[in-house]
Amino acid sequence: MKRTFAALAVMCTVSTLALAAQAEPVKLTIWGLDGDNGLIPTLASEFDAQNDDVVVEFRAVAFDDLVNETLKAVATGNAPDMISLDNPDFALFSSRGAMLDITDRVAASSVIKPDQFYPGPWASVMWDGKIYGVPKATNTIALFYNKDLFAKAGITNPPETWDELLEDARKLNDPANNVYGLTWSARGNEEGTFQFLPWIQMAGGSWKQVNGEGSVRALDLWKTMLDEKLGSQDVLSQGQWDSTGTFNAGNAAMAISGPWEINRMATDAKFDWGVALLPTETAGGIRSSAMGDFNWGIFASTPHPDESFRMLEYFVSQSDRLFPEFSNIPARNDIPLPSTGDARKDAALKVFQEQLNYAQPRGPSPDWQKISKAIYDAMQSALTGQMSAQDALNQAQTTIDGILNG
């Protein structure tokens, strides 16, 4: 009670002073997801409290509505000052001049230093050589494996190449006990592309070039997994969260998913587990992985670019709190993650941090969603045997070429 009173007194004094100093504080609006254990509202209200000349208003938008709401807002001139957008959606706005070009501000900033960030997340805020945002946090995917089942099958190390992955999946697959060799997500939406694109990239392809021989080998590997029933056919309709749920229940010996699974796995899984880097096509081959999470961006239409950039700098300056307080992995390679007190979790996070060096953004492209649909449609057509891998990927390539040249 006493403390509340003191706080009130301080607030009154502060606001009186503020009133005396300037007429009206600047109002900044920020939109974002209400997830991440309250990351955005927490940081935003801190910035609000620390700056008398600024009032920050946070609006939570559901994931599925975020892009549509933002499109509407930009179209009608009602965009907020700042936003946090999923990284593959970012180029939709930055490429069309909806986001503020902050290249010069970043160059002059003592807080935001591009070379401290992982290359993948940083690439997703760039468009046409200019900087339009800053990665908020990042994540990637790697291979979870059930150490108990590996020991039972007499396998000592997690697979390092595609051949080993297939071989291990065959050894671990145990239909009599309801155990699949591997589980992942080949769903017909963004998640499917998120999981499949790294395999194209490991085989020398990219999102612009999906029908090379390497990409066909990657898709054929997945098809073999399904044809031999080393993975459930429901990977075609399952998201990553449900898919990894089957791993936690002991119904799959390996799973491909991201660091967001770690906490649940630590409590749910009744076995010893570990994480390994995604296997490469051949020993010592190209490494790659997916890159997830959101980017901060300031809208070009903001009447308060200076205050908005100050808020952005404040958010970036709090990067070391992202993991301990909000379970987010900072998109920076200069911030060590503190121990969680659970050796398995710490070991897993170390692998994910290494994998992040190879994480590549989806795009950036203003037409990412269409490119992504071309990729997951091709993947699903081949996996369900409606088309050969080559034909399906050729069709996707035609669509992608049409978008890139159109």
Binding site: N68, A75, N189, S237, Q369, K373, D377, G385, Q386, Q395
Partner: protein
């Protein structure tokens, strides 16, 4: 109060209401399908003219043929299933056994539930490895291996159709029950005295007396099925590889997932034309029936 003035006011009010809430969005949608739409012109009415470009682009999409075929199967399959089973149930409960009206009321549960909830429930039932239906079928020894209802390209569309039949069953049964109840009993008694069999009574009394009800049920079924959207995101998301994608879900995907609002509008205009053709055919067929 001036009677004529009041009548005109009533008519004007309802017309204005219709125009504002149905006409304007409809015309806006048609207009949009002939325009180029992007982020900055999303809020304006006058946009660069695209002619038939959007229509050509939709026809050129590799999944176009598959989606149209799926839409036809979905509509015909759903309506047939809902109607046949609904009619069967209506006739069954029309036997007036003890408790029949209470049990019939309980069947309405499926109709009361929101589509998304129904979709989520069927998604659990139809899941592959740990689905309820597969568990039942395996327990009774009908199948050895799980059937992947949602992930098998040959079955995914039927997974949604099954859920949609269940969802629309109660509505069909209810309307058809009302129709059955309105047929005078003495018609049947007279026919029975004349020695008509059960089948003859159904064919010569029930069906003709139910003609208008059946027409209404089928046309409402067509509208409801073309509108059915909730089940798709909840069960298959149109997958795998568009094998369960139908026009209404595709239009939504175009607009709100791929952010191509003009093409989304184009698909919905194409659907609108199909529904119009279907309703013209329906209206003409009922007209000739009445005369005959």
């Amino acid at each position: 109060m001036d009677g004529i003035g009041f009548d005109i006011a009533l008519a004007t009010l309802s017309l204005a209401f219709l125009l504002a809430l149905a006409g304007v969005p409809l015309l806006y949608n048609v207009l949009m399908s002939f325009q180029q739409v992007d982020m900055f012109s999303l809020g304006s009415l006058i946009r660069p003219w695209a002619g038939l470009d959007n229509y050509r682009a939709i026809l050129a999409q590799p999944e176009f043929g598959l989606v149209m075929r799926n839409t036809a199967i979905f509509v015909i399959g759903s309506i047939t299933g809902q109607f046949v089973l609904g009619f069967g149930l209506a006739l069954y409960f029309n036997q007036n056994f003890p408790g029949s009206s209470t049990i019939r009321g309980l069947f309405l549960v499926s109709w009361v539930m929101p589509g998304l909830v129904v979709g989520a429930i069927w998604s659990f039932i139809l899941a592959g490895d740990f689905g309820v239906l597969n568990a039942l079928l395996q327990m009774t020894g009908i199948i050895d291996e799980p059937i992947f209802w949602k992930s098998n390209p040959a079955l995914s569309l039927y997974a949604v159709i099954i859920a949609n039949i269940w969802l629309g069953l109660a509505f069909n049964m209810l309307l058809l029950s009302v129709g059955l109840a309105s047929i005078p009993r003495d018609l049947y008694e007279a026919a029975e005295l004349d020695g008509a069999t059960r089948w003859q009574r159904f064919y010569t009394i029930t069906l003709p007396m139910m003609r208008s009800t059946i027409g209404a049920v089928l046309s409402l079924g067509l509208i409801g099925t073309m509108q059915q959207f909730d089940l798709f995101p909840a069960i298959t998301e149109g997958g795998p590889a568009n094998t369960s994608n139908v026009a209404q879900f595709w239009a939504w995907q175009m607009s709100f997932k791929l952010y191509d609002f003009a093409k989304g509008a184009t698909i919905s205009v194409m659907m609108l034309v199909l529904v119009l053709i279907a309703s013209v055919v329906y209206v003409r067929s009922t007209r000739s029936e009445v005369r005959g």
